[in-house]
């Protein structure tokens, strides 16, 4: 885990993980540790952990759908100012087709669709960007504090 400290009101932590469903627990542990360090209140903390875990799960399920045995890594960066949290995800998987990122019809509940709905419910904004090399995808979630 790396820490970048600008000043006391601008903190950032980043860690990378193997792109695999077994890494999701580690992603949650990292997130909880960082939010505790950033003194985010416990109720919001668990909601944010869920949003982060769902976004990481989407990378495993969708960006690497055809590569279950990949050795690629994804990175999660959590940055915090006194007004806003920014959570960025970086991966080298299949480029995200923004038009296809939506939750599913009510009668077709699957983890991916519901997960995207959870992210939308918890976060204030969701932006997909092209990642700077070596990354392909860069998802940025923000939440006002």
């Amino acid at each position: 885990m790396s820490t970048e400290v600008g000043d006391t009101t601008n903190l950032s932590e980043k860690k990378d993980f193997l792109v695999n469903s077994s890494s999701l627990k580690d992603v949650r542990s990292f997130s909880r540790e960082v939010f505790e360090k950033f003194k985010i209140n416990e109720e919001l903390r668990e909601e944010l952990v869920l949003a982060i875990a769902e976004a990481a799960q989407n990378i495993v399920k969708h960006a690497y759908k055809d590569y279950p045995d990949t050795q690629d890594r994804m990175a999660v960066r959590i940055s915090c100012t006194d007004k806003e949290l920014e959570i960025s995800f970086f991966d080298k998987g299949k480029p995200v087709e923004k038009s296809k990122v939506k939750h599913r019809a009510i009668d077709d509940v699957k983890p991916g669709g519901l997960g995207t709905f959870f992210i939308q419910e918890i976060m204030d904004s969701i932006k997909f960007k092209e990642g700077d090399k070596p990354w392909i995808n860069n998802l940025v979630l923000t939440k006002k504090l």
Binding site: S21, E46, A53, I106, V109, G115, F117, F118, E121
Partner: protein, 94 residues
């Protein structure tokens, strides 16, 4: 994630414990689905579940659908607070 199954008359109760995510969702299906397929009523005791994401919700939805097909039912018991919060959010979607 750990589990324990108890049987009484026509009800099987599955006590789930730990965190339910994409990594363990299939393990839960492997435990719960055969019980449903046997035609018994299945209770999922979630008292010991500290974390559940969309994968866990999906297992519950699929279990309900499967139970309807088998003319039985699935009930949630002793739902923990973290799971109740996720279920409440999911209900807006369902």
């Amino acid at each position: 994630m750990k589990f324990k199954v108890t049987e009484s008359e026509n009800v099987s109760t599955v006590f789930l414990d730990g965190e339910i995510d994409m990594d363990v969702a299939d393990n839960v299906r492997e435990v719960v689905f055969p019980l449903i397929d046997s035609g018994k009523e299945v209770h999922l005791n979630l008292k010991g579940v500290q974390y559940m994401d969309s994968s866990g919700i999906s297992v519950i939805v699929e279990s309900n659908q499967r139970a309807k097909e088998k003319n039985t039912k699935v009930e949630l018991k002793e739902v923990s607070q973290p799971v109740e919060k996720v279920l409440a959010m999911a209900r807006k979607f369902l």
